[in-house]
Every structure is written in C-alpha cells, then in structure tokens.
C-alpha cells in the first residue's frame, strides 16, 4: 500500500474551490442586501440616498419599518425554498422536484383559498389555514404512499404527492368557482401569485421561530443528504436510519416552506432552479451544495423582489417574476447542456 497522502493535499481542489465560491456567494449576497436597502421608489424612482436616512423622517420610517423587513423576508424565503428544494431533490433522488411535490404547495394554496372564501378572510386565518393544509398535504402524501402497493418508497411518495396535489388543486378550483368574483376571487389570485408587499416586522418575527430552527436542522444534517440520496439498500448498509432521517428533514423542509408560503403566497421555481445552479457552481456534494443553494436562493429572491418593487410604479407580483426568470434560466440550462440538468 502506498504512503498516506497528507490530508491537506486530499482536501485540495474541489473543496477549496467550493469554499471560495461559497464565500464569494456570501459576499455577493451581502452587497446586494446593502444595495437593496437604498433601492426603491422614494423619494426618486430608483434610489433613496443614504443621507435621507438621517434627514428625511419619512424615508427613515419607510426604510426601517417597511423595506428592511421586506429584504429580510426575501432572504428568508429564498433560503427556505432553495434549502427545502435541495432536500426534496436529494431525498426523492429526483433532480426535478421541489415543494410543488408532496402536495405542500397545493395544500397551502387550498388552505389559503379556503381561508379567504369560507373562513372570513382575516390574514391570520389565511396564514394558519395555509400552513395547516400544507402540512396536511405532506401527511396525506406520506400516508397514501405507505399504502400504495407499487414501486419503491421514493416512487410511491412521488406518485402519492402527484395525486394529493391534483386533489387539492381541484379543491382550489372549486373554491375559486364559488368565490365572490368581486371581493374574494382577486384576493385568491393575488395570493397565488405571491409577493412580499405586505411584509412588516411582525410577519418576519412570526415566521422566524419556525424557519430558523428548520434551516439549522437542514444545515446540520446536510452531509447526510448525500447518504439519503443513495438507494435504500446502500444507505442501510452504511448504518443510516433512512426513514427516520428522511422524516426529520422533510418535516423541517415542509414546516419552513409552509410558514414562509403562508406569509408570501406561492413563489415558484426558486426551489427547483436554484439547487441546480448551486450544484453547477460548487459541485453536487450537499455539504457545499446546500449552503450554496441557500445563499443563491436568497440572492435570487432578493434580486427578483428588488425588480418587483422598483421596476414599475406599481408592484409586480414576485411569484410571476421568479417563475418568469426561473423558467427562462431552466430552458437556458437545458439548451446549453445537452446532457440535461446538473445533478
């Protein structure tokens, strides 16, 4: 057997490049955050000068009480969607799934619509109902998958997720049909487009107790995601309690997603596209790919929200922007790389 290499030499290349790029992403996110703080449509159309923070009390209030929580919310939303997207993709061994799977998003939409149409439409009701039905979406997908007698665990869960999503979507359609076209229907439509225009400090503080622990759990278990992306037999032979670890990670991902979605509405494509770009950038090992996806998700969402709130004098729905950009990037990636998406 040959001499053992010095460990530093083995660490080299991939890991060091990955670390550099992670640091780069973090710096880029910090810069964008700072820039975004001064970006807006007051007093001029694009830019709030830093001096206004001292001189203009209205600008001061706007920046600290409206803009800052909104920026933080954008960062949180991006991180949560990208992190849970990475979790779903690796746990289901399928690079083309995100929270749209498992009936999470469909369940949350149904819950929100139900809140608007049948439960009085108070914001708290809408949010709670969305969160509950998002979790119910996962739960019913899971329970259904346990009972399906076809395929392996992963396939069963995906099939169950598709069925449950379809069920909730038809329920949402029914609610839209029954909704008051003048009062309720616009609200449902607006919620389903997603956006951060009404985010204030209380909103951010309400989701933090759920979102932060969930993100920490996912981050701490990130190397295990690699193990969970192996076949069951192999994971078992490595001593991994795959079922239990999957459940913990899924629960963290879904709870965080439901909490975020209940405040912002549906923001599509971040969870699907961002993990792919992150893997291209730092490699597929979740030890680096997950933090990279979180930083990139935050960057992407923040950028989209900046556009959403400054491009026009009115507000563009964020969900439409992320979908537009996300789907565009998705097509670009597929066209540029004939072998398909980076897995």
């Amino acid at each position: 057997m040959t001499e053992r290499r010095p460990a530093t030499e083995i660490v080299s290349r991939q890991t060091q490049q990955g670390r550099r790029r992670l640091a780069l992403l973090a710096v880029a996110l910090g810069c964008l955050l700072l820039l975004s703080f001064f970006l807006g449509r007051y007093p001029g159309p694009w830019w709030t000068p830093p001096s206004a923070l001292v001189e203009d009390p209205l600008a001061q209030r706007l920046m600290l009480h409206l803009r800052l929580p909104r920026l933080l919310a954008a960062v949180l939303v991006g991180m949560v969607l990208a992190a849970s997207g990475t979790c779903f993709q690796m746990i289901f061994r399928n690079p083309l799934v995100d929270s749209g799977f498992l009936g999470v998003s469909a369940g949350a939409s149904f819950g929100a619509s139900l809140g608007i149409v049948a439960l009085g439409g108070a914001p708290v009701t809408i949010q709670l109902s969305a969160a509950i039905f998002g979790i119910l979406g996962l739960l019913s997908s899971y329970l259904l998958s346990v009972r399906i007698r076809y395929g392996d665990w992963v396939l069963r869960l995906v099939l169950a997720g598709i069925a449950v999503s379809a069920l909730y979507s038809s329920g949402t359609s029914l609610l839209k049909y029954a909704a008051d076209p003048l009062r309720q229907l616009p609200e449902i439509t607006f919620w389903m487009m997603g956006g951060l225009w009404n985010i204030t400090w209380p909103h951010v503080l309400q989701i933090l107790p759920v979102v932060l622990p969930a993100l920490v759990v996912i981050l701490l278990l990130r190397w295990r995601l690699n193990l969970l992306s192996l076949r069951d037999e192999t994971a078992f032979s490595l001593g991994v309690s795959a079922g239990r670890e999957r459940l913990v990670l899924l629960l963290a991902a879904v709870l965080a997603t439901a909490a975020v979605v209940s405040k912002t509405g549906l923001i599509g494509w971040v969870g699907l596209i961002v993990p792919h770009i992150a893997r291209r950038w730092v490699g597929s090992d979740a030890q680096r790919a997950l933090p990279a996806a979180m930083l990139l998700g935050a960057f992407f969402t923040l950028l989209c929200d900046d556009i959403a709130r400054t491009a026009l004098s009115g507000e563009l729905p964020l969900g439409i922007l992320t979908s537009l950009l996300g789907a565009g990037i998705f097509m670009l990636l597929m066209l540029r790389d004939p072998s398909g998406m980076r897995r």
């Binding site: 290499r5 991939q14 992306s229 192996l230 037999e233 192999t234 490595l238 001593g239 030890q287």
Partner: protein
C-alpha cells in the same frame, strides 16, 4: 462515545505470523464481549489482527468473520423457505464465492448478513458475536456492501462518494474529518482508482463505477465485504478489471463474500466456495474440494465438467 474514538482504518497489509494473529484475535474478541459500550474501539485490534493475518493464513484465524448456524428464513407468502438449515463458516481473510442458480438464496443470505432481514431460525455470528448484539451502526462498521447495480442520481465525485463509506464512524451531525479523507483515499488507492478521485462517478465506465462502489465499501473498513454479483452487468474487460482488483484485495488480506453466476470467475479468485441450491447449502469448503463436476451438476441441474487449467479448475457445461 465521540466519533473520533470510533474511527479506525484498514491496517497496512503486513504479513503476520499465523500464531500471533490468531492469538491476538481471540484475545481481543474475548475483551470485546463484556464491553458493549466500548464495542467498536475494543473490537478494533481484533479486526486489525485478523485482517492482517489473512494474507498468510486464510481460514486459520480463531474467529471466523461470519458464522452461520442452521439459519432459516422464509419470505411472507412464499411456498418454500428462502433459506433452510444453512450452516457455513466464512473464514477471515478468505475470498468466499457463493455459487448457485437463480432463487438459490444467495441474495437473501447477503441481506441477512447486512441486517436487512432477520434470521427466523438459527443464529448468525459476526466476528464471533451474535449479529443481533450489534447496533445498526456497529454492524455497518463490520459488514460493507457492494450492491449489484449502484445508481447515483447526483454527480458526486469519486472521492465524495467514497467518503460516504465513513458514515458508520460519523455522528449524526458530524462532517467527514480529514482523517476520513485519508481513509477514503487509501480505499481508492487499494482499488487503483485514486487517479479518478475528482471525476464525477456518473461519468465513469461500468467497471470503474463498480470499483468506486468497492472503494466506498472499503472506506467502511468492514470485517467482511459483501459483493452482490459484482461482474454480472459488466463486459469482459471491465469484469476482468474488477476481478483483478478483488484478487488484489485478497492479497491485502481482506475478507470477501460475493455472489456470482460465473463458476469460472469464482475459480479465478476465490479461496473458498459455498454452493447453494433452493435455499440449502450443497457444499462448502476450499475451492479445489468443492468446485467439482459432480457437485456443480447437483447444484445447477445440468451436466457440468471441471477440467484442470493450470492449477485452477475450469468449469465447462456439457453439450
């Protein structure tokens, strides 16, 4: 117990005298029995000794890697048991090939050793201790698996993939340490693909992919390495390369148990043969004694002739 303490590696394959290795192994296994809490670290010297001894003394160690005693297993709703009265000794440091037709219980046996299935009758001893007395994690430090066709969905590099083999030694929240990288690197070198370390596994040829899987399992530093038909889906050149690597591992003194459909592949590198048919053991023992025309005919139910091919049996099927 911290992850650092439980970490250990393959010993360098220094040839050790039969007597000292055997006594070290038995002494260490006696010590490990009462100290369940310190399990893996106490068993480490035993493994080190037995693995190193094997190159010079196959099937001579005091404790067999795996000891099956009258093992029976039936799948629910099956007409006949998948395994019935299976008694076999997998010698430490030997390369044991399980031969048998489809449905003879080869895969069931591997799954049983892995802990995926539980024996319904009889007992399974791993390194002299009942399999059930190991925790999941302890068992995965002793039994490594190279599955038949490992499919990776994500483009991990060969080194990243090999590092996954360190999972049995890492706490739930731990990340691979530098020492894990060193062990993974050793595993890559021992199968001769260290040069591919930074290539994505998904870009490798079938044979190289199989070798990466072997390296991943070796990084577990298992007492016994299970390979489920490692050459069945490979072309001739790739199959030859995998067999050569397995022969190299044998020379390094590692304990290997593998299933195959090819008696000649078994003949090429195995030291011991386990013949199975319909869940029963037809014969078990050293290659030359077991790989005979008569026994293979009994096993496969077709006329088989075995001729001598430069010291190794060559198996031919009669027309």
């Amino acid at each position: 117990m911290s992850a650092r303490q439980t970490r250990h590696r393959w010993p360098a394959a220094a040839a050790q005298s039969r007597a000292s290795a055997a006594s070290a192994a038995s002494a260490a296994s006696a010590a490990s029995a009462p100290s369940a809490a310190a399990g893996p670290s106490a068993a480490a010297p035993a493994r080190a000794a037995s693995a190193a001894s094997a190159a010079s003394a196959p099937s001579a160690a005091a404790v067999a890697a795996v000891d099956l005693r009258n093992v029976g297993f039936s799948y629910p709703h099956a007409e006949r048991p998948a395994l019935e009265g299976v008694t076999a000794l997998i010698p430490t440091g030997g390369v044991t090939a399980i031969l048998g037709p489809n449905g003879s219980g080869k895969s069931t046996l591997l799954h049983l050793l892995l802990g995926l299935l539980q024996a319904q009758q009889g007992s399974v001893l791993v390194e002299g201790r009942p399999q059930g007395s190991y925790s999941r994690r302890e068992l995965s430090q002793r039994v490594g698996l190279v599955p038949q066709n490992e499919t990776l969905v994500f483009e991990l590099s060969v080194l990243e993939y090999t590092l996954l083999g360190r999972a049995p030694y890492l706490d739930l929240l731990a990340l691979p340490h530098e020492e894990d990288r060193a062990v993974a690197w050793e595993a890559l070198e021992s199968v001769g693909i260290a040069g591919l370390a930074y290539r994505p596994v998904t870009s490798l040829s079938g044979g190289e992919k199989q070798l990466a899987t072997v390296a991943r399992a070796l990084a577990q530093a298992p007492a016994v390495l299970l390979l489920d038909e490692p050459t069945s889906h490979l072309d001739l050149a790739n199959a030859r390369r995998v067999l050569q690597v397995m022969a190299g591992l044998r020379a390094q003194g590692r304990t290997i148990l593998w299933t195959t459909h090819d008696p000649n592949a078994a003949s090429a590198i195995a030291s011991d043969i386990l013949l199975m048919r319909q869940g029963r053991v037809i014969a078990q023992g050293p290659l030359a004694e077991v790989l005979t025309g008569e026994r293979l005919t009994e096993t496969y139910g077709v006329p088989v002739r075995v001729i001598d091919n430069g010291g190794r049996p060559l198996v031919l099927v009669h027309e």
